[in-house]
Symmetry: C2
Subunit: 314 residues, 2 copies
């Protein structure tokens, strides 16, 4: 199976830009580098992150989302997306046609993000998995933002709207670069949900985040679903992950600049790129304080709320 | 499991050289690049490439060999090893301690090859797998060698000795760079065995390779095993894969230069680096000819021999 599948995959993939010197077909891919290389890996496994036969998820969605999860990490650093390398484990119950559909879904997202899928690997496996390594680029370290730079007094912002269940979201690559350029001190993508990821940022930066749950921007359907469940609407927005939205901290001096930059990106989106996206404005949701590293989430009454972590299951 | 395992893994890993600016712990790893980036992916899966409980294979061997397979692709390009990113699928029947042992095996090979394991991913999975992405570097495209440059008249060489079953081989990174610098026109690593990989090289280069099986350098035990099975000794050497040796083509003018370069590397090896290695001299095994792309293997009587492909099962 492997060779004919690799050939079918290779025939579906397109190189973007002029970085890739050698793609699939040699021992390794060869790419013209820029000075700083930014790399992240994201793996999804059948039975753990998704189930086959789920009517809301076809094979191309799995490929799209596997790549989106990895690219979202580049977005959170403010890097430009470059290449992706996808290792597929293909069980006999999936077969070549569906594996190819998965890769087509990844290629669709690669196309709208300017990414080249430049290599990978195909192996037999007892369950379907896709492990995606993405490589992004920057001109210098100063262009990038880690999780660890938040400072007392910073504003806390999030992009877009949280808690929704849209199938095909695009990672916030342009927004990430714009926020980095606007002077964000720290940034993280909300792959695990705000409840968890804000803790990661607070802990890496050694600061306390105070977040107003009632300020969270709600995606379509979140308020209705919460009303049905008789829970506050912010719960789904804070606890649900895989939004590919960004949470970031910057000084209030940089606020107007960041808002303007994201407005320009939003105006520029055509909405015709295959992603379900209505632009990513900024919502300000809290403040960074000195003190014990951690996060306080407050509700309508100003009371501290405990939130649940997010389980990655599509 | 995931977070504590990631922390345990991170505490075992060391950065090598000054390339890595940010390692494990942020959204992505950040590395200072050199002008040309060379990337390969290799995946091994329980039940497909190896079986747990095999007494000749412990978890650290699995990690070593998973990384070795990927680094061997960089060797075959003549690239310098840089970083590795390892995605682990860890089933409940393996557990954290054994996953950590696997990573220790990879780290041991990383140490002797100057590689930094700079990131990765840990996911639950129904079977153990490791998908390794390695990134190597070069100053320019001209330093690298593909599979596609062999020319009629070239000599065909292989490094080291073939067909052995030693557990911990090191990929031929220094040899690959030296052969590239000596002017190799085409190169491939023998991960699938000479029988298969020579075909890949011939097909990519559009040339015919004529290989004398009786000239193949035999690893320890290969002749004895062949005598027991009443097969010619070269069969095991040509059909067995995962040797991490290199097969390359170069003009006869470059022969002395290549031999001298590999002799210097061999003399320089201390043998104390954890790899089972006795140096990699060159053996000349054939000639490149014009004509239909493909390979002719001839035996003692000069007759054409059909060889079997290699199945990757440890």
């Amino acid at each position: 199976m492997e060779r004919s599948l690799i050939e079918s995959i290779a025939s579906e993939l397109r190189a973007r830009g002029s970085r890739v010197v050698r793609g699939i077909g040699d021992d390794a891919a060869v790419v013209r580098a820029r000075p700083i290389c930014v790399t992240s890996v994201d793996t999804v496994v059948e039975g753990v992150h998704f189930r086959l036969g789920d009517p809301s998820l076809d094979f191309s969605d799995i490929g799209w989302r596997a790549l989106a999860g990895a690219l979202s990490d580049l977005a959170a650093m403010g890097a430009e997306a470059g290449e992706a390398y996808i290792a597929l484990g293909v069980p006999s119950h999936v077969g070549e046609r569906h594996a190819l559909e998965l890769m087509r879904g990844a290629e669709q997202l690669a196309a709208i993000t300017g990414t080249t899928i430049a290599g990978g690997d195909v192996a037999g496996a007892p369950a379907l998995f896709a492990s995606v390594t993405v490589v992004g680029w920057a001109e210098s370290e100063d262009e990038l933002v880690g999780r660890d730079g938040a400072r007392a007094g910073d504003l806390i912002g999030v992009t877009g709207r949280l808690g929704g269940r849209r199938r095909r979201r695009a990672p916030r690559l342009r927004e990430g670069r714009a926020l980095a350029a606007a002077g964000a001190h720290a940034m993280i993508d909300l792959s695990d949900g705000l409840a968890t990821d804000a803790e990661h940022l607070a802990s890496a930066s050694g600061v306390h985040l105070r977040i107003d749950l009632t300020a969270l921007p709600l995606d379509d359907g979140v308020a209705q679903a919460a009303a049905k469940l008789r829970v506050p609407p912010w719960r789904g927005a804070a606890e649900h992950g895989e939004d590919y939205e960004l949470c970031f901290c910057l000084s209030s001096d940089a606020r107007a600049h960041a808002e303007q930059a994201l407005r320009e990106i939003s105006d520029d989106r055509t909405g015709s790129d295959g992603a379900e996206d209505d632009g990513a404005g900024i919502t300000w949701v809290g403040r960074v304080e000195a003190g014990d590293p951690g996060v306080s989430f407050s509700d309508e009454r100003g009371a501290d709320v405990r939130l649940e972590g997010f389980e990655h299951r599509w």
